[in-house]
């Protein structure tokens, strides 16, 4: 150590001539990095208020609050995240777990106010001036915390499918199901989509954690046809799924199917508490899903229940209408047996006419009417009464009941709903060449898109914008369909475009059978006159109140005959609602 060590440190003076690399805030404004985690912004239109951000926030900085002057859309809770910046730690877990990617962070980090309340606000609603910032932390869909990709369902090969009525969907393995169930964030928006308000997030979580028995028990709290719904439900819940906005919705239907199919004996699994027997009795007309749901819960409540069914088998449309490759008979039997094991009496081949109806009204303290829609709509064109024109529901019923039915080699199905798809796919399995003729476009079809895809995979051809004009006889026992083409005319925003016939053009096709599948209507001709007079009917459906009671006290109705949705889950929901209604009515409280 010497003079050198004393003088060396003086070298620091060199700094005087240099520019500092630190900056003087706020004189110089520095823009933060591209992925900086600064103040939040939220696209209110894209946000659905699922609350995943609030659930994942480690500091409970996010509250979901009702937003004033804002109309909640379908699948939207109407709530929006409010962030307390006194608690926020800027970790961006909320951004990474936002299923719709509406919540983002900007690279804004300076915001000075002297009012503490200003630091608790709803991004996107309380305008702070950051809303248009381009830069900031964003969710990368592939690496965020939401799993957008559904575990694919294994299905039979299309070539294999058309050879038999074997079930098309193979089902998830345990590993697949748990993986798929684990995608659910538990927001519960789907519940609003389900007519029956099933406890979807709860049973999905139970599947994800391997508690299958608990899962099925949760389902049976309000749906005794869980397996049926696991196979053929119209699954409106999935269109409400928060993950579905940016990816594939959770396969709620397939998960339900997985859990219910695991148990062959439901009696060992479902834990029910049966109430004390009561001296009131309820008659249920029609053993479809709605009627049997009512029968199940009423018998658990201790009521004497008798179910009357005109057909030789129970199940209503699920027995007669749904093809076996979608819903095999043993599955139906398993569920129905379990329902009836709780004491409901069943009378098959019991057609209720007006005389019998009067008798039933006297015999029972309340009646539930779940007769469905058994009368097909006609095409309304000349020549329709041709013997080669058949109706889809008759056709499907005959096939399902193993009755002889001849369709020939060439079939055209008219319609675009699920019944049309069923008729087409059944015809394919019977070896026919099938064309579906629909008056709108494929994208307008009310049928489930998976059904449309399934039909096409199996070789069904879909013709769009076809309007049948008349049916004529053709040689060799065939039938000729004369049709025109339609153009789509816009009906303004929010409305389906309308098909309008292009005049002056006529085409024809010669086929063996024309299968008409353009819908069904209620047939209430069996009701006695005095009932029919008093019963309020609105646009073809029996009018019911919120407890499913018709305008006649003690007469309840549900299912396709009373609701416009006309699917199994709505019928089940009606049946469940009617149980509460019947109970109140029998106690004299309704």
């Amino acid at each position: 150590m010497g003079l050198k060590e004393v003088l060396k440190p003086l070298g620091a003076w060199r700094q005087i001539a240099r520019r500092p690399h630190t900056i003087l805030v706020p004189t110089i404004k520095r823009e933060a990095a591209e992925r900086y985690r600064g103040f939040h912004v939220n696209d209110l239109e894209k946000c659905i208020g699922c609350g995943t951000c609030a659930a994942v926030c480690p500091n409970e900085a996010i509250d979901m609050v009702k937003v004033e002057g804002f109309e909640a859309k379908k699948g939207d809770s109407g709530y929006r995240p409010r962030i307390d910046y006194g608690r926020c730690c800027w970790c961006a877990l909320c951004v990474d777990s936002c299923p719709t990617t509406s919540l983002k962070m900007t690279n804004e980090y300076i915001w000075i106010r002297d009012v503490p309340e200003d630091f608790v606000y709803i991004p996107g609603y309380d305008i702070k001036g950051f809303e248009d910032k381009e830069k900031g932390y964003r969710k990368d869909k592939e690496h965020g915390l939401t799993n957008y990709n559904r575990v694919p369902m294994r299905e039979l090969d299309p070539g294999e499918r058309v050879k038999s009525f074997a079930e098309v969907v193979i089902g998830y393995t345990e590993e697949e199901a748990r993986k798929e169930a684990d995608r659910c964030v538990g927001c519960g928006l789907c519940i609003a989509g389900c007519p029956d308000r099933m406890h979807i997030p709860d049973y999905i979580r139970a599947i994800a954690s391997g508690e299958y028995e608990r899962s099925v028990n949760i389902m049976y709290e309000n749906n005794p046809f869980a397996e049926l719904c696991g196979k053929v439900c119209t699954r409106r819940c999935e269109s409400y799924c928060s993950i579905g906005h940016e990816g594939d919705p959770v396969a709620i239907r397939w998960l339900k199917r997985f859990a219910t199919e695991r148990f062959s004996d439901l009696k060992e699994v479902i834990k029910v508490r049966k109430q004390e027997p009561k001296d009131k009795s309820v008659g249920i007309i029609g053993a479809g899903p709605g009627g049997l749901t009512a029968a199940y819960y009423l018998s658990l409540k201790g009521y004497k229940v008798t179910v009357y069914e005109a057909m030789p088998e129970v199940g209503g449309m699920t027995m007669a209408g749904i093809p076996k490759y979608r819903f095999p008979f043993p599955s139906l039997k398993k569920q129905v047996d379990f329902i009836l094991s709780h004491g409901a009496d069943l009378k098959l081949n019991y057609y209720v006419d007006s005389e019998k109806f009067r008798e039933l009204m006297k015999r029972h303290d309340a009646i539930y009417l779940g007769v469905g829609l058994m009368k097909p709509w006609n095409l309304g064109v000349p020549g329709e009464e041709h013997p080669n024109v058949i109706y889809a529901i008759d056709f499907l019923r005959k096939v399902n009941f193993n009755e002889p039915v001849e369709i020939g080699k060439e079939v055209v199905v008219i319609g675009g709903g699920d019944v049309a798809m069923d008729a087409a796919r059944v015809s394919r399995r019977m070896g026919a060449r099938v064309t579906i003729a629909y008056r709108r476009r494929k994208i307008d079809m009310p049928a489930d898109h998976e059904e449309i895809e399934g039909a096409e995979e199996e070789g069904v051809e879909i013709w769009e914008k076809i309007i049948p004009l008349r049916v004529e006889d053709a040689p060799e026992g065939k039938v000729k369909l004369v049709y025109g083409k339609a153009k789509m005319v816009d009906q303004g925003p929010g409305k389906r475009p309308k098909p309008v016939l292009i005049e002056g053009e006529e085409y024809e096709m010669v086929v063996d059978r024309i299968i008409v599948a353009i819908g069904q209507q209620a047939d209430l001709s069996f009701l006695p006159e005095e009932i029919e007079e008093k019963l309020e009917v609105e646009r073809g459906r029996i009018k019911v109140n919120e407890r499913q009671m018709t305008s006649i006290p003690g007469l309840f109705a549900g299912g396709d005959v009373a609701n416009r949705v006309a699917d199994a889950i709505s019928a089940i929901a009606d049946g469940l609602r009617a149980v509460k209604g019947i109970e109140l009515y029998l106690k004299g409280e309704l």
């Binding site: 440190p9 070298g11 500092p20 690399h21 985690r37 994800a208």
Partner: protein, 367 residues
Amino acid sequence: MSKEEVRLFIGPQHPGITGNMSIELLLKGDTITWAKTHIGYLHRAFEKLMERRIFIKSFPLVCRICVPEPDTNEENFARGLEELAGIEIPERAKWIRTLVLELSRLQMLIMWYGGIAGSMGLSTPVQWGIGDRDYILDLFEELTGARIYHIYIMPGGVRKDLPDGFEEKVLRAMDMIEKKLPEYDEIIMENAVVQKRLKGLAKIPKGWVEEMGITGPVARACGFPFDVRKDSPYEAYDQLDFDVITEEGCDVWSMLLVRRREIDLSIKLIRQIIDKMPKGEFLTRLPNVLYWKIPSGETYVKSESTRGEFGYYMVTDGSDKPRRVHVKGPSFIHGITLAERLLVGQNIADVAPILVALQTCPPEMER
């Protein structure tokens, strides 16, 4: 305490103390005759909090256990969970993690280098240290989205890939820092005051190292080649070429020398990492983090922080929350066991350099 002795508290509010702790001293004249470390000023109950939180919610929490060097905590926590849950992470994630850890070490060391001078009243290098550290914080901001609490090394890998052109920016920052280092040396290492005060100061008897469990640069300054990066390599350290730095002096000057050489080592390692970084995926998809359950098990994961061996002992019980997380910070030993004995016999003016040399960090003592 005799009548000749004075009882004095240094800290918690004292510029010479390293964080929110205090040391109670008995002084005879200027000489310390007894010392006791007091903690409890920032008890934030991290370990207990983690037991009440689902795993993902602890991810933004753990970085707060050490403010200047948060990444060690993130890495240990993530690696522990991965081990317990049986998650394999992509190769690139390991390299990015190593890069982050080394960048973090480097910025900590630069700040420390200025800090040791500051502890002797040389205020210029303190400003430089804080200023030059910003080159690295800028890199962190670009990579992770935050300057201090990165919340970046998450279970499964890392949260985001390197942004475009990041490698070049890192190399440029390294060049810049390397250019500046001789100037630091000039006013610190080659300064008569520093040399006079630190050489031979607070010599640690070699036997203490193993007796107390001293690790990190303090142990290496006593000639023990303890370095977790070498002894039980984690992430990509087994694929890096480096030697453990040791000095023989056992005094504060040796600790300074070790850390000065480690600055060079970190820069060298960062260049190696950039050079060898593989391409590919950087994150393994986790199960749904809101319901993530980890099978029961226990593990101890450790890494080399700037201060020494940093470890997480974690126990899971199959639920969605950890049963127990114990954070082992090197400062617990250095700041309590060692400091209390080492300070006895020292001059009161040397308390600050000794504590800075031990690099005590109070949050590690009270988690």
